[in-house]
């Protein structure tokens, strides 16, 4: 039991619980099933993308082009669905392929041309978003086939009361989040690639000397990020029932903020899915909760920023205290 408390994520859990208590005491509807479903639905995309971003950041890199990859994918599948078919399976396949290809491009630049990830992905983002703006001129794609719309509205576990006497269930999009979590967890924990990812994050040269094929792993990582972005994109369209090329402007900052809140070490080598999800939860709770408490919009950013700084400091100090207890042999 004590071990659970020592875990780094505990700090986040405590913080989240604290916040939720405060919010609920001010506005009881925070914990209503309706609101919880809203929060989940509103942040499921963020959660999916954050898991992918976590993998990238564990290698010590970063991907600021996620907004571009997601937007580009939504465009591709949007056009596809309008002209061909609204079959969700096909849409997902196409979306995932598009995302992965774009992600692999990032991977090639980072691994083989050795452009620093932040710059490489910035470059690709500029190119992607510029091309998209040029091709679409911001026009929405509105006539998504009914088949896909119905798919997006499916729910499972329809047992929760919704306050009006009926029942609502968990939106299907959560199933995709669960899928993402399972796949990522499996890769990170049980495959050599996964361990290579951690190794690269710890020390790239050592990883190479041990024998990991660094280039291949990096390409995989960014390709995987693209895969996840593609998945997220199709899921997003299933929620919004419309494609808006501008929907994801500035999204990468939100993702990075959530992942950082979740305790991923930006230097690489550390990170957990649980932490990332808690980070997303924290982020979502803060945003939604502040509005429910009728906190003026002007205060919301300050509070968000303050919580971020505070939680970062908290996590770091906690880590330092924990590591002081270890004997250290320092070669660094």
């Amino acid at each position: 039991m004590k071990r659970i408390f020592k875990k780094k994520e505990m700090g986040l859990v405590i913080l989240a619980l604290l916040l939720m208590t405060v919010i609920t005491s001010v506005n009881g509807s925070f914990l209503s099933p309706m609101n919880i479903i809203n929060i989940l639905k509103g942040n499921v995309i963020l959660a999916i993308v954050s898991v992918g971003m976590m993998v990238v950041m564990i290698t010590g890199g970063i991907d600021v082009s996620v907004a571009g990859i997601i937007a580009a994918t939504t465009l591709v599948i949007g056009n596809f669905m309008v002209s061909v078919t609204g079959n969700p399976i096909l849409a997902y396949i196409l979306g995932i392929m598009t995302g992965t290809v774009l992600g692999l491009l990032n991977g090639l630049l980072v691994a083989f041309i050795q452009i620093p990830p932040i710059v490489a992905t910035l470059g690709t983002y500029s190119v992607m978003s510029g091309m998209m703006l040029y091709l679409t001129k911001g026009a929405y794609i509105n006539n998504i086939p009914q088949e896909f719309i119905d798919f997006g509205k499916t729910t499972f576990l329809n047992i929760l009361p919704d306050g009006d006497g009926g029942v609502i269930g968990l939106p299907i999009q959560l199933a995709f989040l669960a899928l993402t979590i399972v796949i990522t967890w499996y890769i990170m924990k049980y495959t050599r690639t996964g361990r290579g990812i951690f190794a690269i994050g710890g020390n790239t040269i050592s990883a190479q000397r041990i024998g990991y094929n660094v280039n291949r792993i990096l390409v995989f990582v960014y390709g995987y990020m693209g895969f996840i972005c593609g998945l997220a994109a199709v899921t997003h369209v299933s929620i919004m029932r419309q494609v808006d090329p501008n929907a994801f402007n500035g999204y990468e900052m939100k993702v990075i903020a959530a992942v950082i809140l979740g305790g991923v070490n930006v230097m690489g080598g550390e990170g957990s899915i649980l932490g990332t999800l808690l980070g997303v939860l924290l982020f979502a709770v803060i945003n939604n909760g502040l509005t429910l408490m009728q906190v003026s919009t002007y205060w919301q950013k300050i509070i968000l920023g303050a919580i971020m700084v505070f939680s970062i400091c908290f996590v770091v100090i906690q880590k330092r205290r924990a590591s002081k207890k270890h004997a250290k042999v320092d070669i660094a």
């Binding site: 041309i113 050795q114 452009i115 710059v119 500029s126 990075i256 919009t297 300050i302 970062i312």
Partner: protein, 332 residues
């Protein structure tokens, strides 16, 4: 020559870019009007880039470089406009406003420095959090509005000329020289490079890493504040979102200018050349009448292209090294 291959390549690129842009219709790139416009526009971006660069030299990144400026600007503009309204002496109010701006920015820098060097949080995380915080403060004070009502005399900083030379450019050149001297000619400057190269080794060499890093963040915020003075004057108001599009561009410009993202290397000259390239591109493409969206594509492609060239020249420019060792070398 080989030692500064990067910087010479960059300079070459600048020349090529200028020539190409001059040859584009309507042939107005090399006109006095345009050069004047560019010389007025460049300084604010240049100052922000320098602010970012010094932090990158320590191996970190300062995502709050723009917001430290804007929050200072909003406070300062509020004070200035109310002083001006109440009939205070113009010169006195302007001087007070400038001092307040710089003071607020420096304060932000101190907070940044404290969280990064004394608490030990990773720079990206810390500055993302503080950036949100500063943005929130600015939002609260300005209520999302722009703060205007500045006296006409204040125009001078951003729009005036001295002996035909635009004031902002003078400010920029002065600060660039100061930065150069600080980095190359002072012990502090040398320490910065050493900390960026290898923090642990620097610590063991007796460098007070914490103090050095703290001052870097303070200086960075100071430069951001000066950039804001120019912006406030040029745009006749202060607003939370001024300069927000600069943030990622400053990272791109720093890396383009030869700074290593992991720290330890970077030249003021290179960075200034990169800033000039980006500025010429932006103005030149606008004059040419290229769609905004395509300009983004070209800027992104150019960024990747230059880094590609850098990679190829450094990789294949070192005779007598085996491929693998070279790969490891350049991976550092």
């Amino acid at each position: 020559m080989k030692k500064h291959a990067k910087e010479w390549t960059l300079f070459g690129v600048l020349i090529v870019v200028i020539i190409v842009l001059s040859l584009l219709p309507p042939y107005k790139f090399m006109t006095a009007t345009n050069i004047k416009a560019m010389v007025f526009q460049l300084p604010e971006f240049g100052l922000f880039t320098l602010a970012m660069m010094v932090v990158i030299l320590t191996g970190g990144i300062n995502l709050s470089v723009v917001t430290t400026g804007t929050v200072g600007g909003i406070v300062s503009a509020t004070v200035l406009s109310s002083m001006y309204e109440n009939g205070a002496d113009v010169t006195v109010s302007i001087i007070t406003a400038i001092l307040i701006l710089l003071a607020v920015s420096v304060l932000c820098g101190i907070l940044n420095g404290y969280v990064v060097s004394y608490i030990g949080a990773a720079a990206m995380m810390a500055t993302l959090g503080t950036s949100t915080l500063y943005e929130g403060v600015g939002l609260l004070i300005s209520k999302g509005n722009s703060v205007s009502g500045l006296p006409k005399e204040f125009f001078w900083f951003g729009n005036g000329t001295v002996l035909g030379i635009p004031v902002p450019m003078i400010i920029f050149v002065v600060m660039a020289v100061v930065t150069y001297l600080l980095l190359e000619r002072t012990a502090w400057g040398h320490s910065i490079y050493m900390v960026g190269s290898n923090q642990k080794a620097s610590e063991f060499s007796g460098i007070n890493v914490r103090k050095v890093t703290m001052w870097v963040y303070i200086y960075s915020a100071f430069l951001g504040g000066i950039a804001m003075i120019i912006m406030m004057s040029r745009y006749n108001s202060a607003r939370v979102d001024y300069g927000s599009s600069y943030l990622m561009q400053t990272v791109a410009a720093s890396v383009l200018g030869g700074a290593a993202i992991t720290g330890g290397y970077g030249k003021v000259g290179g960075v200034i050349t990169a800033v000039a390239i980006l500025q010429c591109l932006s103005s030149g493409l606008n004059i040419f009448g290229l769609e905004t969206s395509l300009s983004r594509v070209i800027t992104g492609a150019l960024l990747i292209g230059v880094l590609l060239i850098n990679f190829l020249t450094t990789r294949y420019g070192k005779p007598g090294m085996s491929f693998k060792t070279k790969a490891l070398e350049s991976r550092k």
